[in-house]
Symmetry: C2
Subunit: 315 residues, 2 copies
């Protein structure tokens, strides 16, 4: 037995992730296309699709798709580990995430030129194309959720669309960004900062967990436990993001480090200091794991491992 070998029962997150990421990347690559659908007169213009593909493919940790799939596998009966609905939901949340980055990077927002180590979309394609690519990616997310081939039951399609719309909209991600925008230079309390992040980042991360679970329509108590898990890791993600903004360098992050401090944006680190922020992230990690225990679900190894990854990540 080599030094690297793991005990037979240990969960191999790397292997698990590799298999899921492969599926997600292939689906995104196939579905974001300028091909003219059968029976249609015209498809999407190639230039727009180029910008959309640039924004989505070949980059990103794919945390949200992984959360969708992990939550679905935790809830779904054996043999349904990754049905069509869960894969579509996994890709849809990534499209929403990608569109938000495209718009967020634009000059009128964060005015960032570097993302995932590449020029941002508006630098590469121009501002107008970035605006339209983001808009089209949001619409495409809902297309992904509503296939017309009967592969996803209508009741699941409807529920996924509703969850995604709420996670992405004015009482979710877009609302959080609006609060973020309005709070530059303002002294926020911890509860105001938490509310901003619950909307801006938390809503879509939690939404990913809930959407994955809802593909298999679990009982209410299981759903409530997974919602609590999603809320905890959603917040933990942002606390760690704030920590990394001051401790990591731009090359590691793949985006401009120290940006929040430079922009006088309130962060957990500026509010409670570095050490207290680290402790807070650890306690949220604990909350997430506890929520999984109360769910009564057995197949939660991937969700547990992803919670660890959120807190321990270096970028």
């Amino acid at each position: 037995m080599s030094a690297e070998a793991k005990p037979l029962n240990a969960f191999d997150l790397d292997l698990w992730m590799r298999e899921r990421l492969d599926r997600v990347e292939r689906a995104l690559d196939t579905w974001i296309t300028a091909e003219v659908p059968q029976g249609e007169d015209h498809g999407a213009p190639a230039a727009l699709v180029d910008a959309m593909r640039y924004a989505v493919l070949d980059g990103g940790k794919r945390l949200r798709p992984l959360l969708v799939l992990a939550a679905h596998e935790a809830v779904a009966p054996l043999g349904h580990e990754c049905d069509a609905g869960a894969l579509r939901a996994a890709c849809a949340v990534e499209l929403i995430h990608a569109y938000s980055l495209v718009h967020d990077d634009m000059p009128c927002m964060d005015n960032d030129v570097l993302r995932r180590g590449k020029p941002t979309v508006h630098i590469q394609f121009g501002e107008a194309s970035a605006l339209l690519a983001g808009d089209a990616l949001q619409a495409l997310a809902f297309e992904f959720l509503t296939p017309q081939d009967g592969s996803v039951p209508c009741v699941v399609q409807a529920r996924l669309c509703g969850l995604l719309a709420r996670a992405a909209g004015s009482a979710g991600m877009a609302g959080g960004q609006a609060i973020d925008l309005a709070s530059v230079g303002l002294p926020l309390t911890e509860s105001q900062l938490r509310e901003m992040h619950q909307l801006k980042t938390g809503a879509l991360l939690q939404g990913s967990v809930v959407m994955g679970a809802q593909c298999a329509q679990p009982p209410a108590n299981v759903l409530a436990a997974l919602e609590a898990y999603g809320a905890a890791i959603g917040l933990a993600f942002q606390v760690v993001d704030d920590i990394l903004d001051v401790t990591a360098d731009s090359a590691t992050l793949g985006k401009t480090a120290g940006k929040d401090a430079d922009n006088d944006k309130p962060t957990y680190v500026s509010l409670m200091g570095l050490e207290a922020s680290r402790n807070y992230a650890r306690s949220l990690h604990e909350q997430a794991l506890q929520a999984l225990q109360t769910s009564g679900l057995h197949n939660t190894a991937a969700l547990q491992a992803l919670a660890g990854m959120v807190v321990d990540r270096a970028y």
Copy 2:
């Protein structure tokens, strides 16, 4: 009998519109809200909702909602003239239309300062808020289509979401805007111009007709006839828009007239001349009415009248 009185059987479009518009305006006013939903921790931030309401309320002809309701009434059995799904679809298409105007007016796109006689959203609220308000309006459209109160069957919710996503996305409205953007100063053929408009304006107008009909799930031949009606009035709308851009003044239009010619954008008028454009609009009007006849539907008075309104409008 006064001179203005109409024969008993004549369809009174003004009365029909007044009743429907009243319903749509009240629904939009009620549903675009910063109120915290029952059982939720937080709603949308008030500043963002202000910008969203400004973009949608108190303005606009509401042509798309009227098409949804007219198509639904043409297809639906008596007593279901305007069920919850059709009203939600009517409001959802208006949100998509409104968001597209907000983004289209931004400096990186058309850079327009006047819309419906008021300052555009980015002039009134700033560019970043306009960007986010547009993004949030698109998400809200899909929230409108997915109520959780059981008022709209899941099969209808799923179908409406799919239709709206396709009409709004890269092979619909957003795609058409991308072609528009890329075609400034280029000599387009008539078929290229038609394809651009089929996507940019036609997809959502046709989508409105189809969504209204799909609330009542009509047979395929009826749907095909209404699709043809929608395609014809969608194109007619744009031809008339191009005519009005050179014949009307800014005060009447409520937006800057002569803008297309100034921006060297290809239009029907620049391509085929004013008189041929008028004839083309008339022939599309005829096509729309013929499609209604082939539908075999009886209750098409509102759809007929709306087709007339699209062609004869002065703004």
